[in-house]
């Protein structure tokens, strides 16, 4: 389905570019605004999501009725209280990748800003879907966990291919993976959200499972990417 993203948070865009609070000259500020507009005109956020029951296994989490298993301790911990999950994927589309590529060879600073805008655009779209799924689940008196993506913690990126195949993302939203499991279009998010009968009280610190934990500048600055 199509997701509408009508605005982007400039603070997020700046933070994504490693901004640490210096003064922004007015011409750069207007360039950033122009890039935001261009991004909003170009993106075509599309998502697919499906609900599954899960079975817990010693090796990990099995998606019922399929061959897909999410291995590792991190995802097991994440889905500790869940008996079901939403699997979802969202992309802002191929045109955005071309826009960024073109800008990078014509005016690199514009390319960098557009890249950041697009990254925030797909996050915004993912947030919207998450919100929608939360509402659906809450109507049933249930709760959702935060998003967990292939590559987080010890969940290998290599599950990406079977994950996207199960959601039929290639046909439904034009989202594929490369041989090394990178998503194409590049501005895409795939994630697992647990559905839990009880409220998830102990909020995990997402940084704990992140491979960038020791080096992340955002975390050091006290402004981690998940806020």
């Amino acid at each position: 389905m199509n997701i509408s993203v009508e605005s982007l948070d400039e603070r997020e865009i700046l933070r994504n570019m490693g901004y640490r609070g210096s003064e922004i000259p007015s011409d750069l500020e207007s360039l950033i605004q122009q890039c935001i507009r261009q991004t909003l005109e170009t993106i075509q956020p599309r998502a697919v999501f499906r609900r599954f029951s899960i079975e817990k296994d010693i090796d990990g989490i099995r998606i019922s009725g399929t061959d897909l298993i999410f291995p590792g301790a991190s995802i097991q911990k994440h889905l500790e209280t869940s008996g079901e999950v939403w699997l979802f994927a969202v992309t802002v589309g191929q045109a955005t990748d071309k826009l960024i590529r073109t800008a990078l060879s014509e005016k690199p600073e514009e390319g960098i800003i557009l890249d950041s805008c697009a990254a925030i655009a797909v996050e915004t779209a993912a947030d919207k879907i998450q919100e929608m799924l939360r509402e659906t689940v809450e109507r049933e008196g249930k709760f959702i966990t935060s998003r967990f993506s292939p590559g987080y913690g010890d969940l290998p990126l290599s599950v990406q291919r079977d994950f996207l195949t199960l959601l039929d993302t290639s046909r439904k939203i034009g989202l594929t993976v490369t041989d090394r499991f990178l998503m194409v279009p590049s501005k895409s998010v795939s994630a697992i959200i647990g559905i839990s009968p009880t409220e998830i009280k102990t909020k995990q610190n997402p940084c704990d499972g992140c491979i960038l934990r020791t080096t992340c500048e955002l975390r050091k600055a006290g402004t981690p990417c998940w806020k």
């Binding site: 000259p25 589309g93 390319g111 195949t165 090394r180 960038l212």
Partner: protein, 792 residues
């Protein structure tokens, strides 16, 4: 052979939906049901035949090497089983039914977005179509494609390895474009040109939404049209399709009124839908369509119809351009890309591409340049070469319908080139000269034009795809010929009714103030009916002449385009640095520190009058950029500002390069040293590498940028060939850091070069542990490392 005069042929409906209903869609490879449940597959086919399908699609949609990876099945095994099941159904129900090989997208994205090359896609399709023909299908259907280059690879594989008829069908969104951004016109032009038997639209939308898209399709092709809509739109949560068989049939039958002759159903449709459709269509005849005559070419994203004057940019051409020759010889693709983007920004709608330079492998370079331009520009390209190998290499990988520049009236030339033009469905420019040289009179030129058009038609190239060049001669050498050329343009237009093209700039060769002559000649030629002026669009008097002509000739309705472009131009103010509008500091230092390109260029030009290039570089350009780097390090400025400053330094370097090229000094001695940069094999995220490139390049190093997803041996070869001292490798993901380690190991065993690495998931310790000499956490760190390595 497949379509029947004045009659609609009914196609089958969805297979996946039927498998789902029978509880068989859980397997990773749905087509494996051909082996595990042949009786059910055959039964589904039989139901479709009974409901009226005259062509059935074997259950082979996802049968390809990529999707079968890691399973125990092979392409030929599943193909054979699927076709056998379809044949059993046909034999049991109706021997007149035809069986199609159903071929969907591979499931991986092609370059430049993804990592699949044209050749890789071609080989995957070759295996499929060969297996299909052996298994005994009657035709091949490529369907549900969204990438024009991918379906083209499939069609070429089918044409080159089988004798079967081909149907080509793509999936569009409601905005009239595929996921990859392909508009209907570009799909129609490209697929029709490739010589398929039908083109169409399937999947993605219901009949209601496809109706206007099909109407658009009919305006761009003369081929039979195929339509297979979904059963409406799916509910995002339940995945159930919304419309009933009766509703589906009622709307879908209307495709006959648009002239569609192959009609069936896609996702969500079942034999009930097809049977309802058959009833609706019974006794109905498809509309007899008018033949379409449109002169148009396209890229994958943009169609340019020659129904008004269209500017062809001439700048991608080494002839008479030293800077461009140097770029080609040094394999500086980035420079060529800036030339492409600059021209389209200035108003060019088509770009001529010529890379002919003695000593270069023209075919290889042409293919590379065409691919690179298409990765950043949407403008259709004009392939400018006389070499058949070069033309074929370009047309093969070209994404869209190209224009070939050119053939001429010589028999041998036409007999060699026209088959290539025909095979790839390009349009072609015909020069009005032949074995006797260039005729002096307009009449003789028209005769040659006539011959070219006739020959093209003999090869199956329609007249609207032939554009005639009456040839511009240098007015300072043959003054009377200027008017003769103009006369010929008018005669070709009037008598032969084809489009015309002229290389305009040649007129003024050898005269001072060439632009004045060029603009006057251009205006006269436009008045005679010139459609495609090949000009330098960066010269405002030239594009201005075209803009003005479009107003005067009524092509620019209500002068809207002219007003918007020329109002904007008048409103443009000279570039003034922010915050100092009264008396701008125009020094090079200031310009670089504040990222002001134009001012940096002007300051450099002034400095060059008094200062040696080496001094400007060593005393101003590099130290200033280093200071900017330090401010970046301290957080006083952030990434876009660092890059703006590097861009300003680049503008300075470019002026120095231009000056040195003019005075025939080699550009190489500007360089502090050569650095190879590459994003490692398997990794397609290269923004970090590109940032480092911009900064290093403008710190005085010559960068050999190998791009992304670079094989280990390509890095090694570049390092050894160029005797490179420093290599920078980037990798974004944990999965690709492995190829980084492999690349380092290989380099270390073949060369003494130093290696710096960077990427989001790397740390210094990890970088050193995989054998790198340095870890560059950002672009400034890379600058410091380079300085250290080259100052040693």
């Amino acid at each position: 052979m497949l379509e029947m005069k004045n009659k609609i042929t009914i196609l089958d409906g969805a297979f996946g939906t039927m498998l789902q209903q029978k509880g068989l869609l859980t397997a990773t490879v749905p087509e494996a049901n051909n082996l595990t449940h042949p009786e059910i597959i055959t039964e589904i086919h039989r139901e479709y035949i009974r409901s009226g399908a005259e062509i059935i699609y074997a259950s082979t949609f996802g049968v390809n090497r990529y999707k079968l990876e890691g399973t125990s099945y092979s392409v030929s095994q599943l193909m054979e089983a699927a076709v056998k099941n379809a044949r059993m159904a046909r034999d049991a129900e109706n021997p007149l039914v035809k069986i199609a090989l159903d071929c969907g997208p591979i499931g991986k994205m092609m370059k430049p977005n993804g990592d699949m090359s044209f050749d890789e896609a071609y080989q995957i399709f070759e295996e499929i179509v060969t297996a299909g023909e052996q298994a005994g299908v009657d035709l091949i259907v490529f369907e549900t494609f969204t990438d024009l280059a991918e379906i083209k690879a499939g069609i070429l594989a089918a044409k080159e390895h089988t004798d079967l008829p081909i149907f080509a069908s793509m999936s569009f969104e409601a905005n009239g474009r595929t996921f990859a951004g392909v508009p209907i016109s570009a799909a129609a032009l490209t697929l029709s040109g490739l010589g398929v038997s039908a083109v169409g639209i399937n999947c993605s939308l219901g009949p209601e939404q496809i109706l206007p898209l099909a109407a658009e399709l009919a305006k761009w092709t003369n081929l039979p049209i195929l339509i297979k809509p979904n059963a409406g739109l799916p509910d995002p949560e339940t995945d159930q399709y919304e419309i009933t068989p009766a509703e589906f049939a009622e709307i879908t039958a209307r495709f006959a009124d648009l002239g569609a002759v192959f009609i069936g159903g896609c996702c969500g449709t079942t034999p009930q839908y097809i049977s309802a459709l058959r009833e609706r269509l019974s006794g109905k005849h498809p509309l007899e369509r008018q033949t379409v005559h449109r002169s148009a070419i396209c890229s994958a994203e943009q169609t340019v119809e020659m129904n008004e004057v269209r500017i062809v940019g001439e700048r991608i051409n080494p002839t008479g351009k030293k800077r461009f020759k140097t770029a080609l010889a040094e394999h500086d693709i980035a420079y060529i890309l800036t030339q492409a983007l600059e021209q389209t920004a200035a108003g060019a709608e088509i770009l001529d591409v010529n890379v002919g330079l003695p000593g270069l492998d023209e075919a290889a370079v042409m293919a590379e340049v065409v691919e690179a331009i298409q990765s950043v520009s949407n403008a259709p390209l004009q392939i400018d070469s006389g070499d058949p190998k070069t033309i074929e290499a370009a047309l093969r990988i070209y994404n869209g319908k190209a224009l070939v520049n050119s053939v001429n009236g010589e028999d041998r030339n036409l007999e060699t080139l026209l088959p290539i033009v025909r095979k790839y469905g390009a349009a072609v420019i015909g020069l009005t000269l032949d074995e006797n040289g260039l005729p002096q009179t307009a009449e003789e030129r028209v005769r040659i034009a006539e011959k070219i058009i006739r020959k093209a038609e003999e090869y199956g190239i329609p007249k609207e795809d032939v554009i005639i060049d009456c040839l511009t001669l240098t007015v300072s050498a043959q003054q009377e010929q200027a008017m003769e050329t103009l006369k010929a343009v008018r005669m070709v237009k009037d008598r032969l009714g084809v489009k015309t093209v002229l290389g305009v700039s040649n007129i003024s060769f050898g005269l001072p103030d060439r632009e004045t002559i060029n603009a006057a000649f251009l205006t006269l030629a436009l008045g005679q009916g010139l459609d495609l002026p090949i000009i330098n669009p960066n010269v405002r008097t030239m594009t201005g002449a075209v803009d003005a002509f479009k107003v005067l000739a009524g092509q620019d309705k209500n002068s809207e385009r002219f007003i918007s472009i020329h109002n904007q131009m008048q409103g443009e103010k000279p570039v003034v640095p922010a915050g100092s509008s009264v008396s701008p500091d125009s020094s090079l230092e200031y310009a670089i520190a504040n990222g002001l390109r134009q001012i940096a260029a002007e300051a450099t030009v002034r400095l060059l009058q008094t200062t040696e290039p080496a001094e400007i570089i060593d005393q101003i350009l590099i130290p200033t950029l280093e200071k900017v780097g330090t401010r970046f390090e301290k957080g006083e400025i952030f990434l876009p500002q660092l890059i703006q400053s590097a861009g300003a330094a680049q503008a300075g370097f470019e002026e120095i390069r231009k000056m040195m090229t003019r005075s025939s000094q080699s550009g190489a001695n500007l360089s502090k040293g050569k650095i190879v940069l590459a994003t490692v094999r398997g990794d397609i995220h290269d923004i970090g590498k590109n940032i480092v490139k911009v900064v290093l390049e403008n710190s005085g190093y010559q960068i050999i940028d190998l791009g992304k997803d670079v094989p280990i041996e390509v890095v090694r070869q570049a390092v050894l060939r160029e005797n490179v001292k420093l290599v920078g490798l980037s990798a974004l993901m944990t999965t690709t850091v492995k190829s980084m380690a492999e690349t380092i190991r290989d380099l270390k065993s073949h060369s003494e070069c130093r290696i710096m690495v960077g990427g989001a998931v790397l740390t210094k310790d990890y970088a050193l542990s995989i054998g790198a000499d340095y870890f560059a956490k950002d672009a400034k760190a890379a600058m410091d490392i380079a300085k250290k390595v080259f100052e040693e």
